[in-house]
Symmetry: C2
């Protein structure tokens, strides 16, 4: 009898965003005259930059001619894109990352999950709390998380690092040995950032303890402050302890176009294995590269015009974040994030629990948000709003929230 991966059966049933969608749909059905505004999911809404469209049209044309048709590409990505990433995202920031340390992929979600393939099952995994659920779920599926307690909202073998208002949403360095550490800055869901000075001790901890930091930098394009690193490799010593995930999803609106990349430095060795070699082997065996058309679109972002266009879109979302931030503050809420991040994180009023505040905003303001408790137990009493909506709708949503909280 074939056996299944029993770890899958340990996963708790309802998924955060399905439950959000279910409640929103139920409300909309019962109240068809109400116009809901969705500030829940972190999904791009602005059109792709024109240079990206142009590059993709050209690439589609290439696929139609015998002499320019492209079959299998390199599993790791085309040189034209790996070189552009190395040059623009790293070298231009004074960081040396070689093209063969860059692996182009179909998404940071895939990479954050699949990276587990190259690690042993006995590693102690540390995650922030609240946290992007993919880090937790993929480790649970692999068997590294132990058992889930509905009561605690926690897995028995994971090491949770609470991120709450009291510590500025910055996790404390573990006071014991952990092996794999997920860090995401600018953070999803809290919108918190980490300065170079704050990140250095993490790199030192990882090097001293042989740990590996999995650094999710998907929201890097939203950074405005000078003391916030755009890449963990700005920190001395990071190349011997960190893997970095980047994505075009939020940088250039690629959520439906699918392109990302992961950096695995060649200096990164653990337990007798070179992680760049292992990840390369994983990708060559279980992945066949990103569509040529999509890679051409991604490469166009690095042109002068591409940079100009993506900055305009980011500025549009940043303005939304500002509107949400200031509106919620005026409404008397304690508000975090939203400065170097598309996410605004706020405390629920009067100690309400997250889902109750979610329901209040849904029913009274007709605004869809995301309850903080869905991201982990320390998210209880918080709520997330995203800046990816339409500017006018965002303003209106904020006005409605202000009105009901007056």
């Amino acid at each position: 009898m074939a056996t299944i991966n029993q770890n899958y059966l340990k996963l708790p049933g309802s998924y955060l965003f399905s439950e959000v969608a279910r409640r929103a749909a139920a409300y909309a059905q019962a109240n068809p005259e109400k116009r809901l505004i969705k500030l829940g999911i972190g999904d791009a809404t602005r059109p792709l930059p024109s240079v990206v469209l142009k590059a993709m049209h050209d690439a589609v044309d290439e696929m139609g001619h015998l002499d320019t048709f492209k079959g299998y590409g390199p599993e790791q990505g085309y040189d034209f894109l790996r070189n552009a990433i190395s040059e623009h995202d790293y070298h231009a920031r004074g960081v040396s990352i070689a093209p063969d340390e860059i692996f182009v992929s179909d998404g940071a979600k895939s990479d954050c999950g699949n990276i587990g393939d190259i690690f042993g099952l006995n590693n102690v995994v540390a995650v922030c709390d609240p946290v992007y659920p993919v880090y937790v779920d993929t480790n649970a599926m692999a068997g590294r998380a132990g058992d889930y307690s509905e009561e605690l909202g926690k897995w028995s073998k994971l090491y949770y690092m609470p991120c709450v208002a009291e510590n500025g949403f910055t996790p404390a360095i573990p006071n014991c040995k952990v092996d794999i550490i997920y860090l995401c800055f600018p953070n999803n869901p809290t919108g918190a950032v980490i300065t170079r000075e704050q990140l250095k001790p993490w790199v030192d901890y990882a090097n001293e303890n042989g740990a590996v930091i999995l650094y999710d930098s998907a929201y890097e394009a939203f950074i405005v402050d000078d003391d916030i690193p755009h890449t963990i490799y700005e920190i001395e010593g990071a190349k011997t302890c960190a893997i970095e995930f980047r994505s075009y999803s939020k940088t250039a609106g690629f959520t439906g176009t699918r392109c990302a990349y992961t950096v695995v430095p060649k200096e990164l060795e653990r337990d007798g294995g070179n992680l760049n070699f292992l990840w390369n082997r994983r990708q060559c065996t279980k992945f066949n590269g990103v569509p040529y058309i999509v890679q051409k679109g991604a490469a166009a972002i690095y042109s002068e015009q591409g940079q100009k266009e993506i900055k305009e879109v980011i500025a549009y979302y940043q303005q939304n974040a500002k509107v949400i931030r200031s509106g919620l503050t005026e409404a008397g809420l304690s508000v975090f994030g939203g400065v170097n991040s598309p996410y605004v994180w706020c405390k629920t009023p009067g100690g309400m629990d997250s889902w109750s505040f979610f329901d209040q905003l849904l029913h009274e303001a007709n605004v869809v948000t995301t309850p903080g408790s869905g991201f982990g137990p320390s998210g209880q009493g918080y709520l997330r709003m995203t800046a990816f909506g339409d500017a006018d709708a965002t303003k209106e949503a904020v006005e409605r929230v202000k009105k009901i909280l007056q």
Copy 2:
């Protein structure tokens, strides 16, 4: 200290196609005046059908407008594509597969590898010998294959099913209990096919023993004979024991465009788990869907014009296969496959080993092929040629081979 997945270190170093490429490049460098013809790798070379190009151009345009822009799509694929697959690839053949049993993905290689995620590590895995290396390597990486013996060219825990001329390249039903069985028909690398009558006992074996068949049907479009099933679900009982992999790579030249799908019937249960539910969970957690643009391109294949165009391309490759088959037969070789398949598999002359014949063809005929031994020990003494090349070049390659073997 973080530990790595030690199974990766057990993988033998050199990869078949890298070694083929290395030898071809070395010869080309030493003999710059020679024109090599490559019949080695199974990669499409004909341009994409015009309906696919048109659909992708339209989709790129949609991504450029606010009201038609697409962000995150469903992880399982858009309904327009899942419905088209259900209707055209299954219902039209008298097979009922619901859209929610179909999972659109970026490639059959990814799916064949990732499917292992939902199974226990203790399953006994059966593979044909010779075999597409991805089945073996991904199970080795997961720890299901045991240890590799360089001498035998085999993994200690895999169950090998020899496919040689003596059994018509059709594996024998295991005489012991195995749990997971990879079958690929039309076969890569041998080009062999299986009739409905021959496939039925496999389905019966799997149902009786609680095994799961992983059926790779990537070359289905090449089937011409009426008694060859296009899908394993043509066989009664297959829905309670089989998962099927399909791809647009060879059907429509999508090797560089990346779209495939996997069918997991809802009736398929094992070990207390529903495999459709498990695979859905896997994909939702570790995958974020195929680019909208690519899915629109794939859906266009199902239009009347799309069907006409892909049939022309398939016919072009089928004609190449015929040329290779008849030419090698005239040259006195024992030739197999190439009828319902783009792969031609032949015995080396005079009991030569595969790499020696590969070298002879490279050096004397300047034709690049793939040595059968690279696909497993039972591939020793065979050679694979593919029909995906240019028609004139294929003819010339065959003439050259005939000449040196006269």
